[in-house]
């Protein structure tokens, strides 16, 4: 990633104009700061984020309303005996189901994808080429179409596996395994072969080279893909909606969706959404700190970590 063009600093070095011309100066100076553009960006950010802040605030509302503040309370989280996330069995189960699915998917998909990336990178021939193409296809196929395919495979072919946690996990692993596959392959391309060749020259065999040279070098990419998968599963909706059966296998996103159809929401759903948000942000924070620690000494810094962890460099 290239550094930002230092437009603002240029502005300060520009010669000071006399007062009469100074009024028109922002238009004239080709390197001036684009205030209009910055204002527009802020407007976008307000539009994008303020609704969320309001929704989070109202999850702490001491009343059923989502537009009239009735005081702070933890009612919708813990204290309400029937409708709080803690005491409503449906909402309670949803939190656990989201966490379970995220954990299962990460544990299965990361090793699968990393091994695939390392293997496919060196294995030449028509089979690996076709496999790699399929992998990329699984990355771009619209989720609804893939979800329909998974729905039918579990309802009419693998009928021993009913719709539910196993089906959801299988779908999520396929849907997410391309993250490590793609990110690790990108990292392999930047590492090059010289470290492995050095290890081989020093007498290491292939498994030793992979374990003691490649895996440490790949650790930032592996870690980033685990973070992306975990948070991706928390936010996933289409697959889990199509592949869950009873309320006990529905994660938080599906519960929010099925309870708000037609606009009937309650603050307990805001509480559920806030829990999802906190979970995602925690994962993001762990991801950010961990990634920076793993890549310490490398070029890039904070913005590079942000772009990698948001999946923009897949």
């Amino acid at each position: 990633m290239t550094a930002a063009p230092a437009a603002p600093t240029r502005q300060t070095t520009a010669p000071r104009a006399e007062p009469a011309r100074r009024i028109r100066w922002p238009r004239r100076n080709p390197w001036g700061h684009p205030w209009l553009l910055e204002g527009f960006t802020w407007l976008y950010l307000i539009w994008s984020l303020v609704p969320i802040v309001i929704a989070v605030l109202f999850s702490f509302n001491n009343g059923k309303s989502q537009s009239a503040w009735q005081g702070f309370s933890m009612r919708w989280y813990t204290t309400d005996p029937l409708q709080s996330v803690l005491h409503n069995p449906e909402l309670h189960a949803a939190v656990l189901q989201t966490f379970r699915l995220a954990a299962y998917t990460t544990v299965i998909a990361v090793p699968l994808g990393v091994a695939f990336a390392v293997g496919i990178n060196r294995w030449r021939g028509p089979i690996p080429a076709a496999a790699n193409f399929t992998m990329i296809l699984s990355f771009v196929v619209p989720e609804l179409i893939f979800g329909v395919a998974m729905f039918f495979v579990f309802t009419s072919l693998f009928t021993a596996i009913k719709l539910g946690t196993i089906a959801e996990t299988a779908g999520l692993v396929t849907w997410n395994v391309s993250w490590p596959a793609i990110i690790v392959q990108a990292r392999l391309a930047t590492i090059g072969r010289q470290y492995e060749e050095a290890a081989a020259d020093l007498g290491a065999n292939r498994p030793q080279t992979v374990r003691r040279v490649l895996l440490p070098l790949l650790s930032p990419a592996i870690f980033a893909s685990a973070v992306l998968i975990f948070s991706g599963v928390i936010d996933d909706f289409v697959l889990v909606d199509l592949l869950s059966s009873t309320a006990s296998t529905q994660p938080m996103s599906v519960i929010i969706y099925s309870n708000t159809r037609g606009g009937n929401s309650g603050p307990a759903l805001n509480a559920l959404g806030t829990i999802m948000l906190v979970m995602s942000f925690l994962v993001a924070l762990i991801g950010f700190v961990g990634y920076r620690w793993l890549t310490r000494g490398e070029r890039g810094g904070a913005t590079a970590a942000l772009t990698v962890l948001s999946g923009a460099e897949g």
């Binding site: 091994a115 989720e143 292939r206 909706f237 199509l242 996103s253 948000l277």
Partner: protein
């Protein structure tokens, strides 16, 4: 020396690399290729009239057009209801993605070129929605758009009577789609714009172009690729979206193609049609999907070299 050594090692090493890749290859075969073949088998199958369940036919030579025929009757026949929905889906998706681009491009352009030292902060704020569940983001708007919600209260200050935003308004759904997918678009645009060599822009300036013309003749042509991939990354999921309008309107007057498929899956007797419809959709989307694969492959190779 190195060359001869590598040649000696490659032949036996092949099995080792293959063994590493095989688990994922098998997984993809079982949970990606087989599912899609199952959809084909169900599309070419028939309906069990007693159980109202689709029956898959695995041999392609025996596929029947029964499901396709009944779907086509719904698309073009007398009581066709899918035809207008296809048209509506296209209108919504085009409107929402153009809106996303008009909002997203200036913001991404600003952060990539002018944010300076505050780039990290802006990037963080741009990425934040990416980490917030889509459902939570829609829920936030449901709160705001309710009859007694903040939007209507703001409007009443200006003297506009309350609007039933959540009662099947196309505007709400289009804005909702744009709101939902902009973060993904912005991220792609940002990554693409950030990669543009600032020296090219400076060269345009040095050669006497003004700010606007530099943008039109240097930056905009260089951002064609990110715009295209960004549009794909928003349009592809928007076409299969059924939850946005279900949450923000919930009425048939704003139904999209995704709602049709989702509804068919839930309705006994119509599942075969749902299979055909999703396959038709995949066929249409295959070209943009392949384009995306090729384009991202090319740009990642450029980034490495």
């Amino acid at each position: 020396m190195a060359v001869t050594m590598r040649r000696r090692q490659r032949a036996p090493g092949r099995t080792f690399w293959a063994i590493l890749a095989v688990p994922a290859v098998v997984w993809l075969a079982v949970f990606f290729v087989v599912p899609f073949y199952t959809v084909l088998a169900i599309s070419g199958g028939y309906l069990n009239p007693f159980l109202q369940e689709p029956v898959a036919v695995w041999n392609p030579l025996q596929w029947s057009a029964a499901n396709l025929d009944s779907l086509m009757r719904d698309i073009t026949g007398a009581g066709a209801f899918i035809g207008p929905i296809v048209a509506r889906t296209l209108v919504y998706v085009v409107a929402a993605s153009v809106l996303s681009l008009l909002i997203g491009y200036p913001a991404a352009y600003f952060v990539a070129r002018f944010a300076g030292r505050r780039k990290g902060l802006f990037l963080l704020l741009l990425i934040a929605p990416f980490w917030i569940s889509y459902m939570m983001r829609m829920l936030a708007w449901i709160d705001l758009l309710q009859t007694g919600g903040y939007i209507n209260r703001l409007l009443s200050l200006v003297g506009i009577s309350p609007v039933n935003w959540l009662g099947g308004e196309s505007v709400t759904v289009i804005l909702g789609l744009a709101y939902g997918y902009i973060p993904y678009l912005i991220l792609v645009l940002y990554a693409g714009l950030d990669r543009i060599d600032p020296r090219l822009i400076e060269a345009g300036r040095d050669l006497g172009l003004g700010r606007v013309r530099t943008f039109l003749r240097v930056t905009l042509p260089l951002s064609r690729q990110p715009i295209l991939t960004g549009m794909l990354i928003t349009v592809l999921p928007m076409l299969g979206d059924y939850f946005t309008n279900q949450m923000l309107s919930g009425t048939a007057s704003t139904s999209m193609l995704g709602n049709v498929i989702d509804g068919q899956l839930e309705t006994p007797g119509l599942q075969g049609q749902g299979a055909v419809l999703s396959m038709m959709m995949l066929t249409v989307l295959l070209v943009p999907m392949l384009y995306y694969v090729i384009a991202t492959n090319r740009s990642s190779r450029e980034a490495v070299s």
